[in-house]
């Protein structure tokens, strides 16, 4: 396991922030189970993936079985059961991006990182995957790094993007955890 991912089995499954977020979330809906999918995604943002402990914790908090949680989670392509890199690079190769050189961009990422599809770099900083349309077709080719969009990419821009994230990785600034911080600073609306 990479140094960037705390071993989730050895710490409380949900941080206090995540637990608070969950409590606010279940309040919102007419039916508690509606919180399941957002909760899995937010937990993944914090822990890095849906570990057995996360699945068990979410099941317990929603009040359904672990099997039901897995049954739902396996449907959604953003949810994963294995760690990805701290920065997960998702290259869209769907039609609009294909037409504007998505595979050239994808190949450049492969070369620079030395990993294939779904590979994680040995330092745990990056992972790479090819994804379906991310809703940025007019700004193709488009790439998402965690939740950040990068539009109108060219292979030559790839090294610059990577070094930007490498800098953040050194500073221990994980994209997902900064999102958590931002989200938690907001007042719940209801």
């Amino acid at each position: 396991m990479s140094p960037n991912h705390p071993n989730p089995e050895s710490i409380p499954v949900f941080s206090p922030q995540l637990a608070a977020r969950f409590d606010a979330l279940v309040q919102k809906y007419p039916v508690k189970r509606s919180a399941l999918i957002p909760m899995l995604l937010y937990a993944q943002d914090e822990v890095g993936y849906l570990s057995d402990a996360v699945v068990a914790e979410v099941a317990r908090r929603i009040g359904i079985t672990e099997l039901e949680v897995r049954n739902v989670a396996t449907y959604y392509s953003m949810l994963r059961f294995r760690p990805a890199g701290q920065f997960n690079i998702q290259v869209c190769t769907n039609i609009s991006c294909l037409l504007r050189g998505a595979y050239e961009v994808y190949e450049r990422f492969q070369e620079e990182l030395g990993v294939g599809p779904h590979g994680v770099t040995p330092d745990g900083v990056f992972s790479l995957e090819e994804v379906e349309c991310v809703g940025a077709c007019c700004w193709a080719p488009a790439v998402q790094v965690n939740y950040d969009f990068h539009d109108e990419l060219k292979p030559d821009l790839v090294p610059g993007i990577l070094s930007g994230y490498r800098g953040k990785a050194k500073a221990g600034n994980n994209g997902a955890s900064s999102l958590e911080k931002k989200a938690n600073s907001k007042e719940p609306h209801a």
């Binding site: 039609i95 349309c133 007019c138 999102l179």
Partner: protein
């Protein structure tokens, strides 16, 4: 930040506040925001529904159903609560317009949702965004919180004594969840498997209650219809096709972007004038007019008005308004393969014709494109796709079959060229990798 474009032929109604800071509530109010909902609060629900019907606003999610008509199907009396559902799943390849609405004008979605609620007597609305749109979800959540803070949402909206709540929701990656009943399943915390119809959502929808589900652009248009008046809005478009549409023009054009043009705007003009023509002075080979699920058009077929009826007459569909432009250096077999592999990946697996059909098509096209095809493959793929049509549980199967049939029919020669040791006439270095799992 996605680049905004502009062209003199645009009629900016839905996009009029793009780039003006209207994601901030004060700016939105300065720009005439929340006036429409106040106007509606002074009217009864029949008035709102009649305005919507008269506006000829048709659903922007793909099917083009009349929004006013859909709202009128919701029963007046209902034992279960009624809901408004905003579909911001935006996953049809070639489509990125809702992206800009949530980015630049989230309050228009909130305002439209409240108006829909007033029209059908719902007290709660949900805004569902695809999981990849996290930054847009955060912008929308901020906007919702601001609207609550001003008393535009909550137990007593605008001091009217009426109640309306809005809840935002994130998906987690699934095209099929854009299908309305699958979206309801997802919102209930389940796999996004579609429901059998009837009953239709207007009668039995989310949590079993009567539900209006509309695309985000449809909902964002509602306040403008109310402000302009239905007749003025309808007059912008063509008969039975009111108003404008946000066209996402992508692919091999000089100036790709989201352009707001009147319904019925000529497709050829859209490509050659609005979007600046084919990139690098090349020639046009084909156009996918309404998102990846719509049948491809040939250059001689594009002198048509872009509204639901005219594109339908030309043998394709206006769909989501995603115009994908393909130049003459493109391999159509490769393009077809990339299209079908998307549908194979996204098929929810519930029904056999879709699950197996998309997979077979993907396998056949992969083999074919790699140069190992047999002459009989061409007819077999067409036969297979034709037999999926209308036989799947939800329209995802059709969405995969329709473009496949058109590619094969209209580019048969190019498929044949791939046989007999001529793998791909346009082979780039490195064939399609297709590692999406």
């Amino acid at each position: 930040m996605p680049r905004l474009v502009s062209h003199p032929d645009e009629v900016k109604i839905v996009s009029r506040r793009f780039g003006m800071g209207a994601e901030k509530i004060d700016r939105y109010l300065e720009l005439g925001g929340y006036e429409a909902v106040m106007k509606c609060l002074a009217q009864d629900s029949d008035w709102i529904i009649n305005e919507m019907k008269a506006s000829n606003l048709r659903g922007r999610g793909g099917a083009g159903f009349s929004a006013g008509m859909k709202w009128s199907f919701v029963p007046r009396q209902s034992a279960k609560p009624k809901y408004i559902l905003v579909n911001g799943d935006e996953s049809e390849p070639g489509t990125c317009k809702d992206h800009l609405i949530f980015l630049h004008d989230p309050h228009s979605v909130i305002e439209g949702t409240i108006i829909a609620g007033l029209a059908v007597g719902a007290k709660m609305g949900f805004i569902y965004l695809r999981g990849e749109y996290r930054y847009l979800l955060e912008i929308t959540e901020r906007a919702v919180a601001d609207a609550y803070q001003r008393g535009f949402l909550g137990k007593n909206i605008f001091g009217s004594g009426k109640e309306f709540e809005i809840i935002t929701q994130t998906g987690a990656g699934a095209y099929e969840v854009g299908e309305e009943s699958a979206l309801m399943e997802s919102l209930e915390g389940k796999r996004g498997v579609p429901r059998i119809k009837p009953p239709f959502p207007a009668v039995v929808g989310l949590y079993g209650g009567p539900t209006v589900i509309n695309n985000a652009e449809t909902i964002a248009t509602v306040p403008h219809v109310i402000n302009m008046g239905a007749a003025a809005y309808a007059a912008v478009g063509t008969p039975r096709n009111g108003g404008t549409r946000l066209f996402s023009i992508s692919g091999h054009v000089e100036r790709p972007g989201v352009y707001e043009l009147p319904m019925g705007y000529n497709l050829k003009k859209m490509i050659y004038e609005v979007a600046g023509g084919i990139r690098g002075g090349r020639n046009l080979k084909a156009v996918v007019p309404g998102g990846s699920s719509t049948p491809v058009l040939l250059p001689q077929e594009i002198d048509i008005g872009m509204d639901f009826d005219q594109v339908g007459k030309a043998g394709s569909m206006l769909g989501s308004g995603g115009v994908v432009v393909i130049d003459d250096q493109t391999c159509i077999v490769e393009f077809a393969l990339r299209t079908i592999s998307f549908y194979a990946h996204e098929s929810c697996g519930w029904c056999i014709p879709c699950r197996e059909g998309t997979d077979w098509l993907k396998k056949s096209l992969t083999r074919f494109h790699a140069g190992f095809g047999a002459p009989s493959d061409i007819d077999n793929m067409q036969y297979l796709a034709e037999n999926m049509l209308g036989r799947t549980f939800c329209p995802l199967g059709d969405a995969a079959a329709m473009p496949t049939i058109a590619f094969i029919k209209k580019f048969r020669k190019e498929f044949e060229d791939h046989l007999n040791g001529k793998p791909c006439p346009f082979a780039r270095e490195g064939v399609l990798q297709l590692t999406v799992v």
